[in-house]
Assembly symmetry: C2
Homo-oligomer: 504 residues x 2
């Protein structure tokens, strides 16, 4: 256990409560209090949520088969967690009752506080909670989604009924995985879940903290530092509450697991928008960049990088240096990757002599095409076969002078069959250096190849520059770990993890 134990113990009640009461549970299907309570009921039925469950609503006798309580204090047993979905004016009273019940944790979904100028109401809630030592998430937030414990306070149903009466997935819940999501924006939070689910990336835990009158980004970083399920953290921020503490906590975290941050409000227009969105003072963007760099946080330039970089960091080890080799059957895309690598600080240098020698003899023996280009990028041309791509990848990975490989195996050429993915995965397992794949295209085989790579935890991208940027994240993180003297330790623990989660 590292860091602040007390926070960790307290935050645990948000993810693993023994009992939960939903204040404002409802029978009306289009109410947030219905959706949230139903999430719990369904997760309890499937034995995902294993705690007790209590609906609180003075106007109902029972909801979805559960006896309803007129108030929190009428519940005969202990309550660890309350989820509050009643109108804002009623929230202080609920918090007073929570104090009496010795509730440990409160997720206040309700909006209508500071974000619309109701400062006094928010202050009151904060005061009661603080006095009673109730830890609060929110208000004005989406709360928590935990795929392992069944806590799901998202008031957006998983599916939506179209006007045509067809039911479609609208706000999917990703499968259990290794990425924790911490987000200031609720809207971007659900969008993230939609993105991650669609790309088949799993989530360890998800937190949307809204007005953060109590728990904030730093508290959750502290928690995720100690959460074994979480191997990387995605953090969306419009402003930071306590910069000094954030950096202190982040520094602890990034020695052990990567944080990828998307910090918006970079421009004056963006900062103004952030102000009117979550009341955040965006501050100087340069200061943030510096703080992130100093804390080992990988900063994404945009939404796509945010997800792309995190995927690479979860699937692959960081590099131990900046020397990258590009292997391809597609000359043009390889130039794109080379350009982006160099523009972002990686080195696409001469192919190491030991690789060159082996590849030259392979070319002489007809094991790779006669016109293959034995430089960096290594271009095996349209005459490539699966076996050629695999054996060249192995030769390059073996070189101690290569820190990572970008494999642009465009599937279009006749000799490249899908089995090269399995074989590359097999070969790359023997090396503790990153490999990143790219195949361009948006139809069947491209989608199939990319998905297949990711089954083997080889991150796969649809554009050469995206692949390059993913490698940049692995380099930057490795470089930071090295500067902190903890690269070896991270690599060792990554190796253990990789060994134990083969083909997840």
């Amino acid at each position: 256990m590292e860091g602040n134990l007390q926070i960790v113990e307290q935050v645990k009640f948000f993810f693993e409560p023994k009992s939960t009461a939903v204040i404002g549970a409802s029978k009306k299907v289009n109410k947030a209090g219905y959706v949230i309570f139903k999430n719990f009921v369904e997760n309890k039925n499937s034995r995902l949520y294993r705690g007790e469950l209590y609906p609180v609503n003075p106007n109902e006798d029972a909801i979805l088969g559960y006896d309803c309580y007129p108030s929190l204090t009428k519940i005969p047993n202990d309550v660890d967690l309350i989820v509050v979905v009643i109108p804002s004016v009623g929230v202080p009273k609920v918090m007073e009752e929570a104090a009496i019940k010795k509730v440990k944790a409160a997720i206040i979904i309700t909006s209508g506080f500071a974000e619309i100028g109701n400062l006094e109401l928010e202050r009151k809630v904060k005061e009661i909670a603080s006095k009673a030592k109730i830890r609060v998430l929110g208000p004005n937030c989406l709360g928590v989604y935990d795929p392992l414990t069944g806590i799901d306070t998202l008031f957006l149903p998983e599916t939506k009924i179209l006007i045509s009466n067809e039911e479609v997935i609208a706000t999917p819940r990703p499968k259990p995985g290794e990425i924790a999501v911490v987000t200031q924006s609720g809207a971007f939070g659900v969008a993230s879940l939609d993105y991650l689910a669609g790309r088949r990336l799993g989530v360890s835990r998800f937190v949307s903290f809204g007005n953060r009158i109590d728990l904030d980004e730093s508290d959750f970083l502290e928690y995720f530092l100690n959460d074994d399920q979480t191997k990387a953290i995605l953090c969306y921020l419009e402003g930071i509450k306590d910069g000094k503490r954030f950096m202190k906590v982040a520094k602890k975290v990034t020695k052990v697991k990567p944080i990828v941050a998307l910090k918006t409000g970079k421009t004056s227009a963006g900062a103004k928008a952030a102000m009117s969105h979550t009341g955040s003072i965006a501050g100087s963007d340069e200061i943030y960049s510096t703080a992130f760099t100093q804390s080992g946080i990988i900063r994404a330039r945009d939404m796509e990088e945010f997800f792309d970089m995190c995927k690479a960091l979860v699937f692959q080890p960081p590099t131990t240096g900046r020397n990258i080799v590009i292997i391809t059957d597609a000359g043009g895309p390889a130039i794109m990757a080379a350009d982006e690598c160099e523009l972002r600080g990686l080195k696409i240098g001469a192919l190491p002599e030991e690789c060159k020698k082996v590849l030259e003899s392979m070319r002489m023996n007809g094991k790779i095409p006669q016109f293959a280009s034995i430089n960096n990028p290594v271009d095996l041309t349209g005459s490539v076969t699966s076996d050629m791509l695999v054996s060249v990848t192995e030769v390059v990975l073996q070189s101690l002078n290569v820190n990572g490989v970008i494999l642009l195996g465009l599937h279009h050429v006749p000799g490249l069959q899908e089995d090269y993915v399995d074989k590359v995965a097999m070969v790359s397992k023997n090396f503790l250096k990153p490999i990143i794949a790219c195949d361009i295209g948006e139809t069947e085989m491209a989608l199939y190849i990319r998905a297949k790579f990711e089954k083997f935890m080889i991150p796969s991208y649809s554009s050469p520059e995206d692949a390059a940027r993913a490698m940049v994240a692995l380099y930057n993180y490795g470089d930071y770990l090295k500067s902190q003297g903890c690269l070896e330790r991270y690599l060792t623990s990554f190796k253990e993890r990789k060994g134990s989660t083969d083909l997840h």
Copy 2:
């Protein structure tokens, strides 16, 4: 008709030949000569290709039901176009026969010329062609794909058989559309087709020019300038053959239709790779950027921008100024879009007074949510409904002080139904200013909403920054047209086109 008429007449034979001979047509299914000849046969059977077709191969009597000729000169009728797929040593002889037959155009697919050092062989081919006034595409190229005339010299079959015996789409041919593709890299060429087909974007014509011993990028720009089917041009380049001429032609083209360029070899590593790929001298990247800007070419920074920007330029009119309004139900993503707009030269300024007034009265009358933020971005919050989003979009589009709208309607909120897409499309039809949509997510409803927008020719993106960058392209192009005094003319012709191709 504008520009160089002679070139246009000559290049026409590559896309609309009255007769084609495939030199090296084969019966062996894994040979390029089989795939290409079969493309022609299938397109002839479906009446897409309406010219004559002759296989040439001294070792066969007939291929796929067509009588085979031992040599080109033995064909009794005129031949407009030859497609050459025999080994390189035999190409000069074929070209001599082509000279005798008075062939107009030759696509030399065959590789093994200058790109591997066979300079003399290439020189010989060039000399024969030039003397006989045969226009040549290639060698070492993929040639032409024309979805309207059925010319398809791509030797990569549309489908591939997996090891599991399943047949999957591997190199799709996009439907007929308005985008011309000119590419130096063949591999990137097929990757482009795969991308465009998967994103349901159509192609007017596709050309891969390889070693360009005769026709080059400038010739095809000249041709596409006069091609009514082509409304925008995607141009992938590693180097430019004749910079002066390229700029001259490009300047003519961009007054009438946009060119989006992806020029690689930006870094020394990339330039080196370009050199060994197509023997191109990449040159100083700054010089290219300046030349592109001066010629009105929109330069994409990476592959994704390349396609994203072109889509925007084909679907929407350019802006007449830099004032953009963002309308959303998702605060966080709106900040991302605002940041990216401002970073790239657009202005997310204060909401024009006339909009503000109307929106304030709508808020008072409960026609938009009480807590909607009437700034720029306009944030209608999670309480938004389809009708709110539509009416606000209309109010904003009406303002003379707004040059374009980015609509980030995240579908996750309960009140937003898919009909807002149809309604926004209906409203936006009345304005000659661009609208760009974004919905984040990779599952059912997100994909559905984005596809639906594009049916109405509203370009739709999966990330806020991509949407912003698409608007940047519309601004940059509009700004260039304005500087050339031809914005009005372009807008008029865009309007006519839009009117006639409703919901394509």
